[in-house]
């Protein structure tokens, strides 16, 4: 070995070393060339962004100087919003044009089920409509939109928005759940549009008041509602008929009034629902009495807290609230129903496609705590196993109408009110909106106004009504609800005779064909009354953490791992174990003594 090493050393001191040095120098040269090439490419990629800002001054002076000799007379003053969209867009267009900006580009992103494409296409349509106004007024300026709609929930989109913000690659306008407003407003990612909204008071007053709370954080506006939904309690009519045939009375008639009315008046409470559900299981009319959505869909269950008269936050202190009496009653109802075989113990882990929806559409439960969007979901997804053919297929609109009756989420007990819960989708504007356009630092206020006008136009009653019908969401504006209740207009929509740009028309053609029918339109119109009872979960950055704890607690009581009393202790200990959450939460009240259920 040593000898060999010696030979290596000997041979290496001349040719080897020289060769190695050359190889090393050549290698370093190659690396330098690669780095230099990469740097040149990187600089070229940056160049288009730099060019407009560097070359803008001459471009900016051209339009103002060339046409007239006296620029001071023709340069318009910086616009302010007046509430008249035609006037405002013309003023903004003229101002930007005078500053050398002939075209402004905005990006919009949204997420949702495949039928919710108008969450982004409505902004495309809005730009078309604004461009039309500009053209009619001979303003040399236009807006272009880059839209990006992705299927699925909005949570990933929200995370992507946050990660992209640092590099200013985020969308200018985003359609997402209102639940992200608190944390994004807190981080400064969202534009405070309170002043704009105040200027457009006529526009904003047409929105349902309860939904406006969803776009406010600490008293300031950070978005405009885009759509909403309600969470009705669905009742299987065939199970109700079975109970009637078995001599157990007619659930649909309560004290001489229709069930819907009795729920609304607070005469049917969760005690009543429990009794109906138990009877339906005991008589063998159905396997389960109550089913509800699983783990991540906790907002449905939060309705129990409101139904038992509880709160989730204190508006005076801004703190989250664990309302112990209401939370205890909710957990007790779940625990009791699971012990009595009314609800499955492993409800929170059921599979959507294999267990939950097939059970609901096949009548394996009396009651389903669902959402308005299920009405059309059952018509488009093959959850139903046809007993005649043995094949799985979607229900028809007629079947859904025949099999399901719906009411508000009943009051917890007598003396309290029924509720529903909404999680509106909203349009938010990024605080750096317009960033991709020239002279951004100088003109950003104007770009922000322009982004707001795009959202205002995208909220046009017809666009909002179309979105509601084709995606089975509830309208957020009264004017939209009026359109939905107008058979003539709906007929026009079914034939796509509404004035829309070609791009948008093509984008929704197939969806309109599949979803616009009298039954669905009537459902939306009928269900809209629920918005008067709607509640929202808190717009608080730490609320998701508290909601996760509630979800775990429900799972534990359903499985019998904890009694409701133990679950309350669990919730308290979890809140107190997280110093941040502990400081932001008030635990209020005690477990009620002497309270019984049912």
């Amino acid at each position: 070995m040593k000898k060999r090493r010696g030979i290596m050393k000997f041979s290496g001191n001349t040719l080897y070393r020289r060769g190695a040095s050359r190889a090393l120098i050549a290698g370093i040269a190659v690396v330098i060339i690669i780095i230099a090439a990469a740097a040149i490419i990187a600089m070229r990629e940056q160049a288009p962004e730099e060019t407009p800002t560097k070359t803008t001054p001459p471009a900016a002076t051209t339009p103002t100087e060339t046409p007239t000799q006296t620029p001071t007379e023709t340069t318009p003053a910086k616009p302010t919003l007046t509430g008249d969209i035609e006037k405002d867009i013309v003023a903004i267009g003229k101002y930007l044009s005078a500053n050398g900006v002939k075209e402004a580009k905005f990006t919009v992103a949204g997420a949702g089920d495949p039928n919710s494409v108008l969450r982004t296409l409505a902004v495309v349509e809005a730009a078309e409509r604004l461009n039309k106004i500009l053209a009619e007024n001979n303003v040399d300026f236009k807006i272009t939109i880059e839209d990006n709609f992705r299927r699925g929930g909005g949570d990933q989109l929200a995370e992507d928005f946050a990660t992209a913000f640092a590099s200013a690659t985020n969308p200018d306008i985003m359609a997402n759940s209102y639940k992200h407003i608190a944390r994004f407003a807190e981080e400064g990612y969202l534009l405070d549009i309170t002043d704009f909204v105040n200027a457009y008071s006529g526009f904003i007053s047409d929105f349902y008041t309860s939904l406006l709370d969803a776009v406010k954080y600490k008293g300031r506006f950070y978005g405009i509602p885009q759509d909403t939904e309600a969470r009705p309690l669905y009742w299987r009519t065939d199970v109700i008929a079975c109970l009637r045939d078995a001599g157990k009375g007619d659930i649909l008639n309560v004290r001489g009034m229709e069930l819907k009315e009795a729920v609304e008046k607070g005469l049917v409470t969760w005690k009543t629902v429990y009794n109906y559900a138990k009877t339906s299981v005991d008589t063998g009319c159905t396997e389960w009495g109550v089913l509800h959505r699983k783990g991540s869909a906790h907002p449905d269950l939060i309705q129990f807290i409101f139904a038992f008269g509880g709160v989730l936050e204190d508006p005076n202190t801004g703190k989250l609230v664990v309302d112990v009496p209401a939370v205890y009653k909710w957990l007790y109802v779940e625990w009791k129903m699971a012990r009595d075989g009314i609800i499955p113990e492993d409800m929170m882990a059921w599979d959507w496609g294999k267990q939950i929806h097939p059970s609901v559409v096949s009548g394996n439960t009396l009651v389903w705590i669902g959402g308005t969007w299920h009405w059309t979901e059952w018509q488009t997804k093959p959850y139903f196993k046809d007993p005649n053919t043995g094949e799985t297929r979607p229900l028809t609109a007629e079947e859904v109408q025949k099999l399901f009756y719906y009411t508000l989420f009943p009051a917890g007990e007598e003396g309290l009110s029924p509720v529903t819960l909404s999680q509106p989708f909203v349009w938010v504007i990024a605080s750096n909106a317009g960033k991709d356009n020239p002279k951004y630092d100088e003109l950003k206020d104007v770009y922000h106004m322009l982004a707001f006008l795009l959202v205002v136009k995208a909220s046009d009653p017809d666009l909002n009504a179309i979105h509601s019908i084709i995606s089975a969401h509830l309208p957020v504006r009264k004017a939209s609800a009026d359109l939905i209740n107008d058979p003539g207009w709906v007929r026009k929509l079914a034939n796509l005779e509404i004035e829309l740009s070609d791009r948008v028309k093509e984008g929704i053609r197939d969806i309109v064909k599949a979803t616009v029918n009298d039954i669905n339109v009537r459902f939306l119109g009928d269900a809209s009354y629920m918005l008067e009872y709607t509640k929202l979960t808190p717009i608080h950055p730490l609320y998701p953490r508290l909601a996760d704890i509630y979800r775990d607690a429900v799972d534990k009581v359903l499985r019998g791992e904890m009694t409701p009393e133990e679950a309350i202790d669990f919730i308290k200990s979890k809140v107190n174990a997280d110093p941040e959450l502990r400081d932001a939460t008030e635990i209020r009240g005690e477990i009620p003594s002497g309270w019984s259920f049912p």
Partner: protein
């Protein structure tokens, strides 16, 4: 004046070093730095200059007071320990059994064991999701119901009567079946490269398969065992992909089914609390580092790296 000649070693090492520095060392130090900031919602501009020990204090407080964090710690210890044993011993047994097999049998056998590694994570996890599904349509429930072993379907990954062992068994099985093929490939390759004379000589001497394994084969696999053990240990400490999907889909209990790596992931990407997640990750890296060094020492890694004493 003599210009110092650069060492050619650096030339050959530089591409790998560059990648390691850019993709491992820099992020590692960046993560350590982030762990001292209250970074959340990816707002680097706002939080990066706020240095404090708050995340570590909060983590310590939660470890002491939050029963779910205790569950995560216990799960991590059990999961890493048992899966490691399963992967190393399982890989060794598989490699040895294939070594004694006829090649025509050994090849399909190897392929079957390597299939879980080749299957996309989502597909592989979905198979297990339906296997352990809690109603009668779940594969395991359906099988046991037909055999009359159980009377009603069981929620394998969630039922309070079966927890925590059932959740642990599921995550160990799901990860173990992927991990075992790594050891198998390494050990089998090593066995195939052993001098045939040793095996022939042992056979001639009348050694049984067990004796040959015990006295001839395994002793020659020592370094491979060390390598696979350390590699698997470090992988298991940081693995979460398969488990993430099973927890996400509700197939296993959220806390009894979550090792520390998954807890870090969820904290960073679901609750968007990146500073806190970075602190939890740093703890994991430190523990991983200590354990790695400990295992290398215990198994005599220094000897492996020593120069051979004999002449070549």
């Amino acid at each position: 004046m003599r210009i110092p000649k650069p060492n050619p070693i650096w030339f050959f090492l530089s591409p790998a070093l560059f990648l390691i520095i850019v993709f491992y060392v820099v992020p590692l130090f960046f993560s350590i730095y982030i762990s001292f900031t209250p970074l959340q919602n990816w707002n680097l501009a706002r939080y990066l200059d706020q240095i404090s020990l708050e995340n570590y204090e909060r983590l310590f407080y939660m470890a002491m007071n939050d029963p779910d964090v205790t569950k995560v710690v216990k799960t991590t210890i059990v999961f890493v320990t048992i899966t490691l044993i399963f992967n190393v011993l399982g890989g060794l047994i598989l490699a040895l059994s294939m070594f004694f097999m006829d090649e025509s049998l050994s090849l399909p056998y190897r392929l079957i064991w390597i299939l879980p590694r080749m299957t996309p994570i989502a597909v592989y996890s979905l198979i297990w999701y339906y296997f352990f599904l809690g109603d009668e349509s779940g594969t395991l429930n359906s099988l046991l119901l037909r055999l009359g072993v159980i009377e009603k379907p069981l929620a394998w990954g969630n039922s309070p009567e079966l927890l925590p062992e059932s959740a642990w068994a599921i995550i160990i099985l799901v990860n173990g079946l992927v991990g075992v093929s790594f050891g198998m490939v390494v050990f089998y390759s090593a066995l195939r490269s052993l001098p045939r004379e040793h095996v022939i000589a042992a056979r001639v001497e009348g050694a049984s398969a067990f004796q040959m394994t015990r006295y001839v084969l395994v002793p020659q696999l020592k370094w491979h065992i060390i390598y696979v053990t350390v590699w698997q240990l470090l992988s298991l400490i940081t693995t979460y992909a398969h488990i993430f999907l099973l927890v996400q889909w509700g197939a296993i209990d959220k806390w009894w089914g979550s090792p520390w790596a998954l807890y870090v992931f969820n904290t960073a990407f679901t609750t968007s609390d990146q500073g806190f997640a970075a602190a939890a990750a740093v703890i994991l890296v430190v523990i991983g580092g200590i354990l790695g060094i400990l295992v290398l020492r215990l198994m005599g890694f220094k000897k492996l790296m020593q120069e051979p004493k004999g002449e070549l």
